[in-house]
Symmetry: C6
Subunit: 267 residues, 6 copies
């Protein structure tokens, strides 16, 4: 049957540290004070959850443009919390399920978490979880209602929980009342020129002469696209140069870099 079709590659539901690691496939580099600030505030919430008596449930939403680093940030907070129960709920692991099966899976993760003294649940790409498309708009009201209740329902006495949501469609979440249901919201931004420069220095693929021009051109780019772009450029105009670039033997030709940039932002 349908479910079996992809069962083989999906391990037990929930995210082991491995799964969390896979969420930040390019690792974490320093990319400016605004990302840093969000990380620190979120870690304060982690601590609050640990000691809270009056607020057994704290909820926090990370919103920002596509590719700005939300999922990586959420995964990192989960890893660094050292909580016994950290799970990520993402649409990837629920492809092809019916709306009600998705609800059941989501509820199951919360129920499991309620058994743990301290837990973190990441609701990744909430608009995808609720099957949102802008046209219409359409989305699953059943899943929306389930989330609306779950992110306000208190865990049983004596259990504390942190819920982290991520989204690229904050205005939609607003219009269905999900943004308001979170205690706090942080905006994860694209990179400014200075942030991009910091990242490029760490990657070390441009000559010192080119790095400023490159960083300038990357102003307002999300970090995920930056990584894709650098890798395209590292191929060279005729392919085959990647190894030389990454080993440090050569640098990326700035003109080819601009060509690739244009492919990416043509529209």
């Amino acid at each position: 049957d349908f479910l079996n079709a992809f069962q083989e590659i999906i391990p037990a539901f929930g995210a082991s540290t491995d799964d969390l690691e896979r969420c930040r496939v390019n690792g974490m580099v320093e990319c400016g004070s605004r990302h840093e600030h969000i990380y620190q505030r979120a870690m304060l919430l982690v601590e609050q959850v640990k000691v809270s008596k009056g607020s057994p449930l704290i909820t926090c939403l990370l919103e920002g443009p596509s590719g700005s680093g939300k999922t990586s940030l959420a995964a990192t907070i989960g890893i660094d919390s050292d909580f016994p129960y950290v799970k990520i709920i993402s649409a990837e692991s629920m492809i092809g399920l019916s709306e009600s099966s998705k609800c059941a899976k989501i509820v199951k993760v919360f129920e499991d978490a309620y058994k743990s003294q301290l837990s973190i649940i990441v609701l990744d790409d909430i608009e995808r979880l609720i099957e949102y498309v802008a046209i219409g708009p359409r989305f699953s009201n059943i899943i929306s209602q389930t989330l609306l209740v779950l992110i306000k329902r208190l865990p049983p006495k004596g259990k504390n929980m942190l819920v982290i949501g991520t989204t690229s469609e904050v205005s939609f979440l607003d219009s269905v009342g999900i943004r308001d249901a979170f205690s706090v919201t942080y905006h994860v931004p694209t990179l400014k020129t200075e942030d991009a420069k910091k990242v490029l220095q760490q990657l070390n693929v441009f000559s010192d002469d080119d790095i400023d021009a490159a960083a300038e051109a990357l102003n307002d780019m999300p970090i995920k696209k930056l990584y894709m772009l650098i890798e395209m450029a590292a191929q060279g105009e005729h392919g085959g140069e990647a190894e030389a670039i990454y080993s440090g033997k050569e640098k990326i030709a700035i003109s080819h870099f601009f060509d690739c940039l244009q492919d990416m932002i043509r529209y």
Copy 2:
């Protein structure tokens, strides 16, 4: 199956006093004359139900912004009534059920109540019960129709009943005719500066010098958010100060309090 997935943690349907207590997780403090007035009026309705001959059914709606204290107020009235049958119907206990199962559960509570001489039913967060989202708008008409009939249907001869509804979406309830179906409606407000000050004095976490500035900043805040905010601030800028604050050894730094406030209302 799906239903079993969360059966374990849901006790028999309905609310024991324990469940009602859990609805006011931070207890009840004095928070101004407007909240007080509503409580007194509602208690008069409780008495009317006790003695009424001509109105076997009285219905009352508590509406107000998110977090203004509606559920806690309704739970308190239920507890203080000393009626033999007091139940709260909330979306929490019906997550993932189909619309018709939700109807059946709701009807069941009313049927049970009809067997009692005197009963109170709290319909908590009616917009959530009927699966409302603003976009569309969408909601369950089946559940709406069920509620519309139930809140006008007389209990059998000799039985009297009080129904208390709560909602943050009174204009929506108005547009589906549910608000009109209630006998009376009370507006549960956010806190004014003076109300907030009264609450802060009872919590005793600010120094006398700061309390006025803090209360001023809290003008127009719902009481539920006030509790969340105070707890965040009590962690201190670097975490770990909560115990000292709550034990009275230290006070909340007013500057950190303002930082936290900004996180919460950034939008």
Copy 3:
């Protein structure tokens, strides 16, 4: 199963005189010439049905604001007709049924009535029968179509029938063509000051000095709300006075009456 959940309290489908009595829980008082006129005209229709050769089916709609006394009036006509078959079809007895089950129940009542020489069927709160909400608007087209056909379908040869509908949403019924399908329509109004005064005199709960002021304030109120309001006021400001008032020992304090009035019409 679901249906069983409320079977216990619903007796055999249809309305015995008991059920009709329960529809006018506060009894019938004189409340002005306009109500009286409708009653007399409707009783003429009752007689027409008795003797008609050419019109085996007569249909009549009572429309008016919520609480204006429509259901009580229809029940009274049914009781006073002395017809062998008088049934009330109301949403109360069909809570939670599917649209098609509701249709079947409604059809069943008509089929039963067709066996009787003379019959009256009350379609109470038609907008509720067809599951109407103003948003959308939404309603059950299946039930609407069934009603549209039933209120125009002739009974078998030799049988005569009167159908009385009630509604608070006459403009909606108009837009789906149901109002036009009725032979005649009567508007059941709210009370004017003089009507209200007449009612208050019969209830005898105000001192002679206050009765005019009270009646003035009640201008344009539906009779059902008037009853609820009087009962609230009869409790007194601090509760416990109801018995003294109703026994005639004391009168309602006019100032408390105005307070209660304000609670009811705050919006």
Copy 4:
């Protein structure tokens, strides 16, 4: 089950002459030249069907305001045709059926007719057959499509057929393309003063002095409402006069007639 609920009173599907007779419950009187003209034209179509070689299928739509006499006219044509197969398809005999069952029943009538050398099928109240309501608008597209095909599908070689449709919603039928699918359309009008006078003379319930005033007041009334109104008026102001009126002993009091008229057209 549901279907059985009303099987008892529905005889075998289709219309015997009895059923056709029941469609004109008040018989047929002369009501003006415009009705007459339509009858004659339709009888020409009946003859054309009898002799046609090139047009095995002729279709004709009777449209006009509610109660103008469409169904009676169609039934009369069917009766007067003397065709071996004459059936009326009306919503009355399909109450509560699903859309696809309705389709199947309709198709069945056509299939039966195809076996007859000459046949007439009356599609009565087409808007009701396709479950139309103006709001939305909503209707059954499945049934609409079935009708659209059936009224253009040729019978088998050697069989000829006349289809007569009736409707009060010609502009709706136009918008779904059904009106265009008919070969010809005739408008069945309300009565003009002179037509009404002719009818009243035949009924003989007014004194000669009153008949002109009455006819004047009936200008633009559909004939079906005229019958209902006369019967109401014949009851007299206090009931009980009907027999005397119809036996010719007394005449209708013109003032009471105007009262009844007002009840009917109040809106």
Copy 5:
């Protein structure tokens, strides 16, 4: 069951020459150069299909007002092609089937055709196949998608196919992308005065004096309506003249012809 209800009269799916003949019930007469031109172009496509190497699939849409002769034209092309496989797919043979059954039937015809070296498929009245109504608009997206794919899917290697579509709703087909999916489109027009005259001469039912006036009045009429009209007129004012007219003994009275014309175009 439902399907069986009309199986008797539907032979094996697909169109034998007989079925194609039945599509032009009045035969084919010359009706002007524009119809002629389309016929010739379409026959060129037939030849192209025979010899093509690079275009195994050619598709052609005939669009024009209701009754302009599209189906007859398509059937004639099919008959004259002498291809081994010629089938017409029309809504008539799929009445009452579900959308997915219709899809399956349509796909089946294509699959069958793929087995033939050379094949023609006529998709008759495409708007009816996809259950289109203008209100909404509504239509079957499942069937639309199936057609969109089928009219672009290449037959297996070595097989060539011509698909002819007909429609009276070309602007709708345009808006769902079906018109664009056809290689070429031809517009089948109504008759101009001179075309009508040519047809009337062949029918020989008017006197020479009247034929020009008649043709003039028929300007812009579709040929199918012309046939229906002539037959109505041939009945004569009082019926019974048809035989005399068609045998050539008498001619149609021009005044009666104009009367009939008016019945047809009254709106």
Copy 6:
């Protein structure tokens, strides 16, 4: 059952090189620098996928007007990549399947690909895969959501994948967020006069005198339509000339070519 109806001609799901070849039924000719540029850039992505460490998934969208050569281009890239796993997912092979079956088939192809070190998946005509029509608009949200997740889900560790999408409805894909989900997008254009001339020279069916006029007339035509047009013209005015033209014995008559062109663009 339905599925079996067309199983015979569908081989195992997925595209062998044969299937890819069948996608470019007229082979590949040079048609200008813009097509060439896209091909080269896409081949660079192929190489990047081969060596990438940080981007296990690269996605690329080819968009352009109907017939501009997108599918042929995608198939060519797949063939030239020499990757062990190259599959094309197209609506053709999923005709008549339910939405969820389509999802399952699509997921299956991805799961299969994940087992391969290097893979290419072509999502052909994405708007057709998601059952899009412009009216409404309507489309399958289930399939859209599945695609949205699949084109962002990373393959398992150590596997690299290239996804190529094609579409003629890029603005629709934009509005459902699918275009944004691709890493890069290339626009496949229609032919300019000079491109058309290059193609005509290769086809060698015009005399040298006519080739410029022909190319001029073909400005802005998609290459697929060019092929269809040339073949129509090659038939000659009276048919039968195709062989002589293609063998080079004769040339296409330019006037007939213009006639055919007009048939094609009449609207």
